[in-house]
Amino acid sequence: MNTPASAPELPHLRLGFVALTDAAPLVVAKTLEFGHRHGLTLELCRQPSWAGIRDKLLCGEIDAAHALYGLVYGVQLGIGGPHADMAVPMVLNRNGQAITLSPRLADRIASGDSVKEAFASLNRPPVLAQTFPTGTHAMWLYYWLAANGLDPLADVKSIVLPPPDMAAALAAGELDGFCAGEPWHAVAESLGVGRLVAYTSEIWPDHPEKVLACRRDFVTRYPNTTRALVRTLLEACRWLDEDPRHRASAAKWLAAADVIGVAPDLIAPRLLGDTGHAHARPIAFFEHGDVNYPRESDGRWFIAQYRRWGLYSGDARDDATIAAAVNQTALYRDAAMAVGVDIPADADVRVARFCDGAVWPD
């Protein structure tokens, strides 16, 4: 497979990840050593925060990472922190995130209250947590609030907490709800301190979520390494979608103390696609490569949302150029072809339909 011309420039990669179910592609690639076939050894480095992922990518302490789609674009635009030219060589998963509310609020909604009415019953602004200011969870939460007639900047108090702390904060009454990844909803529900009220796939069906992230100069300096890493992770994503038993194995590996450190029973059901909501779509890692193509139109959506919420004021005419520079479509195509993964028919523009009837690209 490795002719000298395409051999990775770096044989050993340090990959950052955060303790979440959707770190599965990295954990599978490492556990089954999918990298070896592509000339790579992988070292997984768990990070306790997204800020840590960002800083270690920027200073070269890690080479690439499992990252929120929005984190990459936040750094690219320099929102609230350092700016750097970033790259998204591939998407790692779709769906699989959710919004959980305190049992009291969830009960009101279940008995017919609108979200707005339920929050009004608190007689104070609800405190809602997400995971990073420019991250996907912030954007799903804000979108969902707005679609329910609330102004996320004025009507709620929006804070960030580490996902493992969400359940305790709900239990202590410091929090009324949160938007994050799994298994932290399953954990909150198992403790009886919160109930899942909406999956993010009910906001934007099949939304992109985590991506492989690295600095853009990493891609330019080590193109063969980046392609080898994309091939490796594509094989891991394919493996995850191949057979439900594979996902059951992955749930056990994810449960390990040095990965997520919660019981496999809290990880497996939703990883295996059991949502319990008729209109929710399960987490997906591959779907014949449909998940993984780094579509520029998806990247542009995040820039448009930052503008919507006053986080970014750059000229909208530049958005397409920015997304084209971040999302590594040409490199992805090469890597996908090398491992027999199809390029989706809607690669260039995927039309997304949202819960409020909006269509993207608009």
Partner: protein, 195 residues
């Protein structure tokens, strides 16, 4: 440095094993005003709001980092992560800070020269040599693991007459069926082959 209007207000976040709190006395001696320490992410929004620190020193690996990032974006008075990655900061200092495990956040517009002693105290306290050694050792282990898997694969190829891919698939299946890492399966196989 001691007249109160110009004294910088420094907040230490002490929610990891790294003893950030140890900086307290050294920085106080340099004339900084040391605020009540914060030990949980949940307490951070209120303290930043009430005490308005000019500088926040936090372990690079603190779980409270993202909480602080949100404050930086949503609240114009909150400290921002600009010191480590500002335009004029040299890369070596950034690397040193990250490897030493210290992140600094500060209110925009502060004079960098006034902050230098804070970082110097932090960097001196938390040397990064131990971490570099650990990293090197880890890379060596990874390469050794890879050699072990190759060896196990060759064993299977020779003894069972399998092509390389099948030998690898067999190792992988065994790992899955037994909930083991593939390298552990390889180690067992190689060890038993010596009997």
């Amino acid at each position: 440095m001691t007249s109160s209007p110009t004294r910088l207000r420094v907040l230490l976040v002490t929610d990891t094993a790294k003893p950030i709190g140890e900086l307290r006395d050294a920085l106080a001696r340099l004339g900084y005003e040391m605020l009540t320490e914060v030990a949980t992410p949940g307490a951070l929004p209120r303290i930043v709001d009430e005490q308005r620190p000019d500088v926040v020193i936090i372990d690079t690996d603190s779980p409270s980092r993202d909480t602080l990032e949100q404050l930086a974006v949503m609240n114009e008075h909150a400290p921002r992560p600009v010191l480590m990655f500002s335009n004029d900061t040299d890369q070596q200092r950034i690397r040193d800070a990250v490897r030493a495990g210290v992140s600094a956040y500060l209110v925009e517009g502060l004079d960098a020269a006034r902050l230098a002693p804070i970082l110097e105290v932090a960097l001196a306290r938390f040397s990064h040599e131990a971490q570099l050694r650990k990293r090197l050792a880890h890379a060596e282990t990874e390469l050794a693991n890879r050699k072990l898997i190759d060896q196990a694969k060759r064993l299977l190829m020779e003894r069972r007459g399998l092509p390389e891919q099948d030998a690898y698939a067999l190792l992988r299946r065994h790992a899955m069926d037994h909930g083991m890492k593939i390298v552990e399966v390889a180690r067992q196989l190689v060890r038993l082959a010596d009997l």
